[in-house]
Symmetry: C2
Subunit: 306 residues, 2 copies
C-alpha cells in the first residue's frame, strides 16, 4: 500500500481560512514588510509566493528590495515605522554568522519569523509569554512551528495524551541542526515528550525532555550512534538538507514511517512512498501561513501597547 | 633599520596598574566567572592566563568547567548570581552559529567580552551609552577594543586630530572578518575616520565612515580589489587568521608599515621586521586587561542599579 501523500496546501488551508476570516471580521489591515537583499532565485520565488498568499488572505505585503550593505539600516528604520506590523528577511543575505546577527536586528515586536535571540531563547527555555501577566504569547520560529502543525494534522501528536506530552513514546530523527530550523525543532519536539535524534555533519545528538524536576528545559547528549541506527529506530523522519544531491536511502527507513521533507530539494528517494505510511514532500505553504499567524499576533501585541 | 617590536605586555602595563590601584583604593572585590566547556589547549591556556592576571590585579576569578551541553543553563544561573559581576566563555564551544547564540545568552549586565547582540549592535550603530542619561557606558568587544588601545599606544591614532577623527587619512587592512573581532574592528576603525579594507575568504569589503549627514553609521562596499592592492595601499595591516599555515607575504607590504597580529598563530613571515616600522606580534595581554576594565565598568553599573 503506497504512502498517503499530504500536501502542505492541505494543512495550511484551515489556518489560512481562519486568518482571512479574522482580518475581515475585525476589519484590520495588518502589514508585513519583506526585505529581499540577495539575487537567489529561491528567495525571489519565496517572496512572490508570500505576496500572493498575503493578497489572498487580506494581509498588506510590501516587498523592499535593498542592497545587502544597507539592509541593517533599513531594518532599523522599519522597526520604527508605526504602520509596519511585521518584518521578515529573505535569507541567506551574507550567509554565515552575519545573518544570525541580522536576525536579532529585527525588533522582537515585529519579528514574524521568530528568529531574534529573544524568541529563540524562549523556545529553548520553554518560556511561552512575553509578559508576566501572560497576555502576550511569544512568537515561535515559523518553520519549526509549521512542522509541529503538520505533525498535529497527520496524527503524530496524539491528542489523547495531555497537552505538552503528546509526543510521548515517539522517536523522531531530524536531519538538520541549523540554528534556524533543526535545533529549535528538536528542542520543541523533545519538550513535547519525543526522543529526538538530531543529525548533522558534525554528529548525532539525542534531545529528550530529561528527567527530574527541571522539566522546562530539554536535555541534549552527544550519542555514539549512526544515521542507520537512528533512522532505523524512528517512527518519524524529518529532513532538511539544503543540497540537491542529498538523498536519505529508503532502505534505512522503517516500514510505515512518517516522512517529512522541509528542504527545498527532495531529500527522500523517489521510492519513498513504497515505504512510508505518510509522506509530506514540502512544508513551505504552512510556513507562510504561520508567518501570517505570527503577524496577527504581533499586530495585536502592538495594539495592546498603544 | 629593523622594526620596533611592541609587546602586548608593554601596552597592557598601564591599564593593569590603573585597575589594580582602582580596586585597592576603592576596596572593592569584583568577581569574574569564566566558563570552560571545551578541551581546546589554547582555551585552557587562556583560562590559566586570565586566572594569573586577575590574581595579580585583585580581581576574584572563578573558573567553572562544564559540559558543553550544560553551558547555556550554567550561564543562565550565573546571570542571576548577585556576587558575580562578569561572565566570560572560552570559545569555541560548538563552533559555528550556536556559539553566536550562546554569546547572547550572557546578560548584557555581566557581559565582559561585549559579545552579546546588544553591545555588538551598539558598536555598529555608534551607540555609546546604555541609558538616556548617559551615565552607563556600553561595553565594547574586548579584542577589537584591545587593538584600538594598541593603535593609540603606538601612534596610529593621531591625538592632534579631534576625538572621533583620529584615524583620518589612514588606510588599514584587516585580514579577518569574523563577527567576534574582524567586522566590529573594521567598523570601529572606519567610525574613527580610516579607510578599512576588510579581507576574508569571501572577498574584500571597504569600510568607511561614509559621507552626508548620517555620520553615525559606517559604510560598507564590496570592492573589486586584490589582497595585493589592499595591503599595498595600507599603512597599517592587522591579521587574525586562525590557522598555522597562513602567512601574509612580507613583499606585499609597504616599507614602514605598522603590522599587528592578533591570531594565536604567527600570520606574518619571519622577515616582517625588515619591512615594518612597528611590529606587534600578539595582543592577548591587552585583551585580558580590557576584560578586567570591562568588569570594573559592569561592577559599577550593577552598584548603580542596586
Amino acid at each position: 500500500m503506497p504512502a498517503k501523500t499530504v500536501l502542505a496546501s492541505t494543512v495550511s488551508a484551515s489556518f489560512r481560512e481562519q486568518i482571512k476570516k479574522d482580518i475581515k471580521e475585525r476589519q484590520i489591515q495588518p502589514k508585513l514588510v519583506g526585505f529581499l537583499a540577495n539575487e537567489d532565485p529561491a528567495a525571489k520565488k519565496y517572496a512572490e509566493w508570500t505576496a500572493k498568499t498575503c493578497a489572498e488572505t487580506g494581509v498588506t505585503f510590501e516587498l523592499r528590495k535593498v542592497d545587502k550593505q544597507d539592509l541593517e539600516e533599513k531594518i532599523t528604520e522599519a522597526n520604527e515605522e508605526k504602520e509596519v506590523n511585521g518584518i521578515m528577511v529573505y535569507y541567506p543575505v551574507f550567509g554565515g554568522k552575519q545573518d544570525l546577527y541580522l536576525q536579532s536586528c529585527v525588533s522582537y515586536l515585529k519579528d514574524v519569523e521568530g528568529l531574534c535571540h529573544k524568541f529563540v531563547y524562549n523556545v529553548y527555555h520553554n518560556v511561552r509569554f512575553l509578559d508576566e501577566g501572560e497576555t502576550m504569547k511569544c512568537i515561535i520560529p515559523c518553520t519549526p512551528l509549521a512542522i509541529v502543525k503538520i505533525l498535529e494534522h497527520i496524527g503524530v501528536y496524539n491528542s489523547v495524551l495531555p497537552y505538552g506530552n503528546r509526543l510521548y513514546g515517539r522517536t523522531i530523527t531530524v536531519v538538520n541542526r541549523s540554528e534556524i530550523v533543526g535545533r529549535p525543532l528538536a528542542a520543541m519536539l523533545a519538550n513535547d515528550g519525543a526522543r529526538v535524534y538530531s543529525v548533522d555533519v558534525n554528529g548525532i545528538q539525542l534531545f529528550t525532555r530529561g528527567t527530574g524536576i527541571k522539566l522546562s528545559a530539554h536535555k541534549v547528549e552527544d550519542v555514539e550512534t549512526t544515521l542507520e541506527e537512528a533512522v532505523g529506530h524512528s517512527d518519524t523522519v524529518i529532513t532538511g538538507v539544503p543540497t540537491p544531491n542529498y538523498k536519505l536511502p529508503t532502505k534505512l527507513l522503517r516500514d510505515g514511517v512518517v516522512a517529512i521533507n522541509f528542504s527545498s530539494f527532495a531529500n527522500f528517494e523517489d521510492d519513498i512512498k513504497s515505504r512510508a505510511s505518510i509522506f509530506v514532500p514540502s512544508v513551505g505553504k504552512v510556513t507562510v501561513a504561520m508567518l501570517e499567524r505570527n503577524l496577527l499576533r504581533l499586530h495585536d501585541h502592538q495594539q495592546k501597547q498603544n
